[in-house]
Symmetry: C2
Subunit: 408 residues, 2 copies
Amino acid sequence: MNPHFAERTKSARRSVIRELLKLTEQPNIISFAGGLPDPATFPREFLARVAADEILNNPGKTLQYTTTEGKLPLREPLSRWFAEDGMKFPPDQIVITSASQQGLDLVAKVFLDPGDVVFVGLPTYIGAIQAFQAMQARLVGVPLEEDGMDLGKLAEAIRATRRAGLTPKFIYEVPDFQNPSGITWSEEKRRGLLEIARREDLVVVEDMPYRKLRYVGKPVPPLAALDEDGRVVVLFTFSKTLAAGLRLGALAGPKEIVEKVVTLKQATDLCTSSLTQRLAVRFFQEYDVEGHMEKICAHYRVKRDAMLAALERYMPKGEGIRWTKPEGGLFLWVALPEEIDTERMLLKAIEHKVAYVIGAPFFVDGGGHNTMRLSFSSATLEQIEEGIRRLGQVVAEELAAVRSPQQA
Amino acid sequence: MNPHFAERTKSARRSVIRELLKLTEQPNIISFAGGLPDPATFPREFLARVAADEILNNPGKTLQYTTTEGKLPLREPLSRWFAEDGMKFPPDQIVITSASQQGLDLVAKVFLDPGDVVFVGLPTYIGAIQAFQAMQARLVGVPLEEDGMDLGKLAEAIRATRRAGLTPKFIYEVPDFQNPSGITWSEEKRRGLLEIARREDLVVVEDMPYRKLRYVGKPVPPLAALDEDGRVVVLFTFSKTLAAGLRLGALAGPKEIVEKVVTLKQATDLCTSSLTQRLAVRFFQEYDVEGHMEKICAHYRVKRDAMLAALERYMPKGEGIRWTKPEGGLFLWVALPEEIDTERMLLKAIEHKVAYVIGAPFFVDGGGHNTMRLSFSSATLEQIEEGIRRLGQVVAEELAAVRSPQQA
């Protein structure tokens, strides 16, 4: 038997990070590698109670199939929640998805023919890279600066794409507290991005898994709120705000696009789980959603502060060593001098019982060998203090090693 | 804004049936149209209890992300359950999916480049048609006889495909109580199909949503149990055996194929809901699964018997009028004389307050205008009796109308 796979399958690769994560799962390792939300933030008493109630007393709505676009009593409060943030999507412009990874799969299916170009940040969320590559897109990376993409380079990349006879389809970004970099786009850059998208007639895919997790500073309007001509598609997930295990999210966008998304979602999974949708319906109906968000933010804020303080304390100082100071989300990003290869250094880190995620897989241009992602979501404050102390030592040792003449 | 969709999107259509179903949702209509399982078969007391217990006491396993391949404590009992049916898939050859529609999406992604050929029955399950067309496959229909595909025509179709320079990829079938026809393949035809697949080096996709729902007769071995060289991929779903709203199923197959499926599932949704998986884990651990299946079968058996008896009683007799006598599943299939167009007749049926699903959308060759699908899963025994009486009258009137000289 010799299965004849599709072209996309021949080149599909699993995330390197997943493989490296196995290394970091040894006992006593303090890991900043996993990007999982802290289960302490999931409202389990509430979910347990409403799950039992819904299944027992509302089985027709929880245990049976539901519509492909998702339950209206969930799309309605989502529409209002989005509106609080300046995004105007009536319920018929919202599709419930099996979390935002499915949103990525659906935008890829709806827009991408083989060879079509998607513009992404350097670095970019890996799940997006995988979803777009599965539809055989060509990904063009544009450097991220502290306040968002280098827009000059974006415009240049789009022109070069057209000159090469390729078809640009959309720009993908996580403008708030990006995974992996922790960067938030300024309003000026958001407007600049939309201006370029308008001029080039491109769709913008705005992925906002962390938008509700802001710990300091003032919210910047979403791209979808600044959008004047209906070209922004929003991906939202409940994974960080309710519970990741529900696999529940939403896609919102222009009506014409949303209709196509629903058509292709029908072929993808018929519908998202009725049960998990009903749990979210009850969450909006009965739970103190705003108080819950504040509680989650407070929970992560101290961890973020602790990690930034520890980095200040323990990381070697010097040229080429810097890290982002995210205003929200779960991640921060460390860049080391060019001589450092964080993949090679990971073995040393594991010897020192600390782990991170190497940066290179987040770069579609082969760069990022000297970068790493640190997650502050799951470790305790004590682990953050001790883990960053160990990491500082690892970096210092590695710097000494690569800079010593014997090693050169 | 002028979104530039992918080629697949331009031709994607939502199911006609969904649109027609809206017609049938008027009050007082007895509908045999929907294909939904009867919610009375879902063990809601059990599910309510374990859902609350799992969320409260096992939140790390229910509310957090899980692995892409799915929870091992679910793949293990599934492996044993499959083995009872002669199918030898160790847990590492099983992937948990978001029900079998996702299984269809994943086999389509793994195998199909645009223009590749899939062989399907005439008629075929619509969700499969949609999933394969979303990956731009060319679907070639092969007539179904009472005991399975016309294998001579299948072999001929494969030869013609190769002669035309096209690439055949796999054969798709629902060998037990097919949706829509209710047909079950004989063992002889199953062996014949595998023989052809072997000769032509094709994969076989065996979709078995109804396999556990056998009401009469002896089980015929699954294709996967007869397979000698690892070319059968099995799609299973809990939608009919536990609860459709969970969106839970499994794909099993040769190791090499399953690995590719896991890689592409990662890009599709990261993982299937941890919560719904845990409910199924507990179902296998604590519930009387065999007794539950017997109960479900008993529940549907009387409905099937009632519908067959009512058809015998009320349908006009005559050449060209026949229906299948399914040994399980949820559906039976009625063929009427060539002059009848069941889509046109549907309006008359709705006037008579009875509804069915037209057959044509299940045919990839444009045929089937004179056929219809009847589901006996959701109606009560009284509704079945009265609904089939009305349907018999509708058919009699339509026959009279098309055969009267005034109408000619």
